[in-house]
Amino acid sequence: MTPHSNRQRAGAEFVAERENLRPQWEGEASTGHVLQPGELDLSHKVILYLEDITVSFDGFRALNKLSLAIDAGELRCIIGPNGAGKTTMMDVITGKTRPDEGSAFFGQTLDLTRMREPEIAHAGIGRKFQKPTVFEQHSVFENLELAMKADKRVRRSLFARLSSEEGDRIAAVLERIRLAGEADRQAGLLSHGQKQWLEIGMLLMQEPRLLLLDEPVAGMTDDETERTAELFVSLAGEHSLVVVEHDMAFVEALGGKVTVLHEGSVLAEGDLPTVQNDPRVIEVYLGR
């Protein structure tokens, strides 16, 4: 889908680019544009940088010097065998897990390793969990309302009323995730696939710049999987997406660049056919 001229941007070029970020982040902009503290800066067209991230659990390295860069508007698939560290990587990006080493930047300026979870969500990173977690006691509509990008402080939520514009936004997302007919149903009563869609809808309500989707089509029917692929492709460009998935047909349908994780670091990166023909990748998948 999205053209990728620059394969494999980790390495020297990437590091060099990261180096001249530092002074900018400290407020001494050399390139001339004004820095807004706390705002996403996409001046280098890269929305997410991970560099040499290491995470250990009791000595076991779930992530081992992982480096990764995602372009703004890109649709990236992450594949890899079970336990490769895909979910842990998302935990690091969303602030749930602190890396032992390495740096994680959102845009040029936002240091994810120093931000707390709500701040990261607020800055524009939305996440869909591996296990769908919607608010089962709330209606589909209320789930979307809660997720909506809004002032989320106590003071505001005490007196918050849904404006007609906000109602329209919810209605639009309900259409997009094909749950318009289920708006008043309790979310706990939805089918598994519908819950996955609702969770994607909740992500969209936050109007995130970067969406992290952990196995979004797990448990979906083929038909639902196909529609999900269509939805994601339509979201790319406006949003950046990082999709973790085991379903190769789905990865193929998405058509973006693919990164293979293995034992906590990047094994290969490129479009799907290239990656599938990479002997190291074949060994990892067949050797198990």
């Binding site: 969303t94 749930k96 979870e117 709500p118 969500a121 607020h122 939305g126 996440r127 969990f129 977690t133 608010f135 089962e136 006691q137 709330h138 209320e142 309302e145 809660l146 997720a147 990008k149 989320k152 402080r153 106590v154 939520s157 005490l158 007196f159 918050a160 009323r161 309790q186 706990g188 909740m202 936050q206």
Partner: protein, 398 residues
Amino acid sequence: MRTPFTVRLFNSMPRAGWAALALFALFAWVWVPLAHLALPADHALHLSSYWVSLLGKILCYMVVAVAMDLIWGYAGILSLGHGLFFALGGYAFGMYLMRQIGRDGSYGAELPDFMVFLDWKELPWYWWGTDSFLWALLLVVAVPGLLAWVFGYFAFRSRIKGVYFAIITQALTYAAMLLFFRNETGFGGNNGFTDFKRILGHGITTPEMRVVLFALSAALLAGVLLLGRYLVTSRFGRVLAAIRDAESRVMFIGYNPLHYKLFVWTLSAVLCGLAGALYVPQVGIINPSEMSPANSIEIAVWVAVGGRGTLVGAVLGAGIVNLAKSWFTVSFPEYWPFFLGFLFIAVTLFLPNGVIGLWSTLRARLGARRPAPAAAEPPVQGAAAEPPAAESSRGAVA
């Protein structure tokens, strides 16, 4: 178009709720005063002072139950230390009541009797201003509120939850009880405060005062119910319930659960403090046994019996358990603890949604059995009228 606040408040409760509230107001503000003050003592409908005091006391307990339900039923935070906030409100107002005794105490001194007994020459600094009614009211709100805020801030920031949180609250109320038992603490030791004489210069044991205190307790309960109803139907309430069901998910969509929990927790403590302040003049005594761990556990039992997650349930639970308690303590006092324990086990095993849950299950069954036109309304519809999480939350209905 923005809907005015009053209209939203009105719409936050079904018409039946308003009707029930109106009936309650009629009972508390018209019937009780008339039956107690106007009807002669030998009249069949005369309400004795025993009953006015008992009902007034239960109204205060109901406020505590609603406060407990707000944090337990809606935010999923089980406190087993709510008796502390209730007692602190009681003590704060009790200080004022002690000062109102003036020189009518048994030693005829300016200082409260227990201080004379300890041979103290002047009031400790924290008794400053307690001769002022307004200052006392401020303390009633501020002391439980501040303690709850500070405690909650550290507990919620450290993400202490569930059983651990409950145990720490037990420890807190227990520690406070030990502190208040000491004479040196300056709150009358194990005797606490008693022998009150006046409020704002008016005799505290007069029938009029009794009725006024009763009516104020009823007003507090009505106000707390309205406030609670508004809260749980607002977006704030939906966030709270979401925190209860999936806290980390709430964080990922950008809410900070700390602030939400802290707000409702502090509010809940303040409501308990207010209830305690009205309770003390009605029962005429406050002592450290109000802070005993068992008292706080009892509060949780009221809510469990009534049905957590519904405000009406909390009120019913407090009413049922306390009426039963006053009957037991008159008829077979030694069996009360066993009955309470039995009740708690029975409710946990058979009525996870409490009396309210039982009622909605029965109503749903009856609804389903009714012939054609009525059966068109599915049972789920009836459940939807209840506040969120009343039904299927504990999976009992299904």
